[in-house]
Symmetry: C2
Subunit: 145 residues, 2 copies
Amino acid sequence: MNIGDASTRSGLPPKTIRYYEDIKLILPLRDSNGYRAFRDSDVHKLTFLGRARALGFTIEDCRSLLALWEDKERASADVRQIARDNLKIIEGKISDLIRMRETLSHLVEACAGDHRPDCPILERLGKLDEDTDTGQAADKRKVAG
Amino acid sequence: MNIGDASTRSGLPPKTIRYYEDIKLILPLRDSNGYRAFRDSDVHKLTFLGRARALGFTIEDCRSLLALWEDKERASADVRQIARDNLKIIEGKISDLIRMRETLSHLVEACAGDHRPDCPILERLGKLDEDTDTGQAADKRKVAG
DNA sequence: ATGGGGCTTCCAGTAGCTGGAGGGTCAAGG
DNA sequence: CCTTGACCCTCCAGCTACTGGAAGCCCCAT
């Protein structure tokens, strides 16, 4: 199976598949003409990767999950730990984003949005006195986006 | 004022400040020794930028907002439009992340997390039959993170 | 033989910084 | 006057997870 078919079946773009080979997440065979030759097991892995990525797992998480997936002796606790860590990260991003949404939606509502220059949004961003810093919880964490 | 003080006052790391100068968000003066010389207005802009970034605005948004902030003839509608677009993006990210959290938390709960290899998480990721793709809504949008 | 699509590699760029090397500057202390 | 240490400078590289594009080979149908 060539990369085009593997792409269709796994739902991942060819570019992404080549990238995954590059970083050694998959190791497809090669035909004599140099074309990648995907086995069903490769496609299966790609599908796995697509789903894991869609659930927010990083590439390195995926590498670990894939190894655990292939290890029939694995302990489910290992998998669960990775998933829980990811869940924590996702929850952190959600609360950061919700805080942003709160602030931003209040500001948007407060802004007349007409031809006049008066704008609570800019006032808030430029205010000198108060500490209007909105990023308290976003200290170390990379805020989603 | 040197970059260290500007950093302390604005809350942004020196590296970030240099980067902002690099991409021309700010244009501090220079002392004869080559050190950047920050005016109060520069620090004020940096603070503005820090707050805008904390609210999820992109660098290019920030550039526009800064221009509007300086333009005393601006229409508040222009500011509001940028803020609303950002709000939409944030809301999209939130719903993607909430979908991920849903799926992931169910899976984590379903997983025994012990020494045994049975694991619903891996089963779900590797399943062959059903379309368990979780990323329907995340098509084009870059899912937060 | 020619055309078109698919495949290959490699290079560069995206966003928004961050880390580090290698070196200049400045004020205080000995 | 010299050293020490905290600053500051520039430039290059790297992070995540791809994506776009150029240049060129391969294969099949007409």
